[in-house]
């Protein structure tokens, strides 16, 4: 479907790095360090759920972020971000586990936190995947978003311990939440 055929206000998105960062495929270690530093500055709610995270980001951006589960078709990306006139939407696959859904949503959120530039996705996703070559993460924007998305997912509170023992779990078991 070309941009001209798309209903008014519906724009499918793919991403590229901000100006000056093109081709910035740094090593994974450095990418993780940089993403960790970014997360510390991001002022996100501590130990939040995915919904809470989207609510906070929606408030920060002045546009609500709506999460929509969908049936994935063959060749389609597992997660997708769309900008609409009054809201942003993140689509995630229906037929997978809650933890995986959260991870996919975190990947899309990571694109926003990294200030990646959205572009109209006019190409057939199958063609895009073939063009990308070795890995789905050969694209620098996708790699960066996946690194930050993974770190973000690790910080979520998807499986909280009992409230009275939360602080003890962190300091004795060295983990924030039981899903990590």
């Amino acid at each position: 479907m070309s941009a001209a055929d798309m209903p008014l206000g519906h724009v499918a998105i793919r991403w590229r790095l901000p100006e000056g960062q093109e081709n910035a495929l740094v090593g994974l270690r450095r990418a993780r360090r940089e993403c960790r530093a970014l997360l510390e500055k991001a002022n996100l709610p501590p130990y939040s759920t995915v919904q809470e995270l989207c609510e906070r980001l929606g408030v920060q951006r002045g546009r609500p972020i709506v999460l929509i589960a969908r049936e994935m078709t063959h060749g389609q990306r597992s997660g997708q971000f769309e900008q609409h006139l009054t809201e942003d939407r993140i689509y995630y696959p229906q037929h997978t586990s809650t933890a995986h859904q959260a991870h996919i949503i975190c990947h899309e959120i990571a694109h926003l936190l990294l200030a990646h530039i959205p572009e109209l996705d006019a190409l057939d996703p199958e063609v895009v995947r073939l063009v990308l070559g070795r890995s789905h993460y050969a694209d620098p924007a996708e790699e960066q978003a996946e690194v930050l998305g993974t770190l973000l997912w690790q910080q979520l509170n998807l499986a909280p311990a009992e409230p009275t023992n939360a602080a003890v779990v962190t300091s004795l078991e060295h983990r924030r939440s039981r899903h990590v």
Binding site: L28, T98, S135, A138, Q154, P163, S171, H174
Partner: protein
């Protein structure tokens, strides 16, 4: 206790506590939890305290400084700093008086804790330590450093006050830490790792408290010129303290070590399932796969590695969904229902493994099923059970159950 044996014991504990401090501080660098920082600092000051208490090092310190039993002051101040850290830990671990929504409990109320730390820790120990230093300055000139301070000189008022303030400050911190650990343990299910760990902390605090009690009894008796109980202060107390320190240190490190070992076991157990996902689509991996020997030796960064592995496994499972024949899932469910001995989690994992294997077979032979399974088995697991579920799936992948299902649907 013989000076040589006590020296070795103190040096051993000092090294152990340094390792514990490094362990906790490394975890703090990754997670930034304030309790981890406090535990690291507590272990470090305790390590220095034991170092100063080792007779061989104590003689060296006293000789070099030229100030009477200076090593005693250093050791005792180290324990006061440990006590300050212990009370801070108690404040961080104390549940809030009201019950907020569960997600908020993970966020430490720094403003509240900071003001309580100022009130209960900095003021209290901020007064105790200078008071001890002043008293030491009063009584130390001309003191014979070859004899035990606490029983030989307990009759002097300044020494007695010095020793009792020290024991009170130390004992109070141990009491609070033991109490909060016991309280938390009581809220946890029986036989759990965390409950056992917290009970161990309580036992450690009680044993170290035995040191305080023995010393206090011996000091009080010596102050009244009764030296029949000196052995309490010179043998029982130090032994109890050393054993208690070992127990407490094992509690502080034990749960994290068990967690690490479980992570390592899970990481290796997920390998076959991950390799299957890579067969579905090798481009799903964010990083290059490790060589087999590196895979076997992987001990660091396990949280990240496991997270990536589970993500990529689920991505592979999602990509494989159109290839999973509905009849394979149906047969797997029927066969699993016949196995009464299987727990529900095992059953679901076995069905998921059979579905995955069926999908991979269809993909390899390029025979897309006329009807693929609408509902992917094993996707209803809670986030906290996700890793456990995938480990079970991995274990079943090469097992007889999956082989039976594949044979029946060939």
């Amino acid at each position: 206790m013989s000076d040589i044996i006590f020296s070795y014991l103190c040096l051993f504990l000092s090294i152990l506590l340094c390792v514990l401090a490094g362990f906790k501080l490394r975890a703090w660098r990754r997670q930034r939890g304030p309790a981890l920082l406090v535990m690291g600092m507590a272990a470090l000051v305790s390590a220095l305290s034991f170092l100063c208490a080792a007779p061989a090092i104590a003689h060296l310190i006293n000789r070099v400084s030229g100030i009477g039993p200076f090593s005693v002051l250093l050791a005792y101040v180290g324990r006061m700093l440990f006590s300050a850290c212990a009370i801070t830990l108690v404040l961080l671990w104390s549940p809030p008086s009201r019950r907020p929504a569960s997600r908020e409990v993970w966020a430490v109320p720094y403003a509240t804790v900071r003001s309580e730390v100022r009130r209960k820790v900095m003021w209290v120990y901020g007064l105790i330590i200078p008071a001890m230093a002043v008293l030491f300055a009063v009584f130390c000139p001309g003191m014979d450093t070859s004899v035990a301070l606490d029983t030989t000189y307990a009759h002097r008022p300044s020494v007695l006050v010095f020793l009792l303030i020290y024991q009170a400050g130390f004992g109070w911190a141990l009491w609070q830490l033991g109490r909060i650990s016991w309280k938390h343990a009581a809220d946890l299910p029986a036989h759990g790792l965390l409950r056992r760990t917290l009970r161990r902390l309580t036992i450690g605090c009680v044993l170290i408290g035995g040191y305080c009690l023995s010393k206090t009894v011996a000091i009080t008796a010596a102050a009244a010129d009764h030296h029949a109980l000196d052995w309490l202060g010179s043998i029982v107390g130090p032994l109890s303290g050393c054993v208690g320190c070992l127990v407490l240190a094992s509690g502080w490190a034990g749960a994290a070590v068990v967690t690490w070992r479980q992570r390592r076991a899970d990481y290796r157990a997920l390998h076959p399932l991950w390799m299957t996902a890579m067969q579905v689509d090798g481009r799903l991996a964010l990083d290059n796969p490790l060589r087999p020997w590196a895979e076997r030796l992987a001990t660091r960064d396990l949280e990240w590695r496991i997270t990536r592995r589970t993500r990529e496994i689920r991505d592979g499972q999602l990509a494989l969904r159109p290839w999973v024949p509905a009849d394979v899932v149906e047969v797997a469910r029927r066969r699993a229902a016949e196995h009464d001995s299987l727990e529900p989690q095992e059953r679901e994992a076995a069905i998921a493994a059979a579905a995955l294997a069926g999908g991979v077979r269809a993909l390899r032979t390029r025979q897309r099923p006329a009807q693929h399974s609408e509902h992917t088995p094993g996707t209803d697991v809670a986030p906290g059970d996700e890793r456990r579920h995938l480990v079970l799936v991995s274990q079943h992948l090469q097992g007889p159950f999956v082989a039976q299902v594949l044979a029946e649907t060939a």
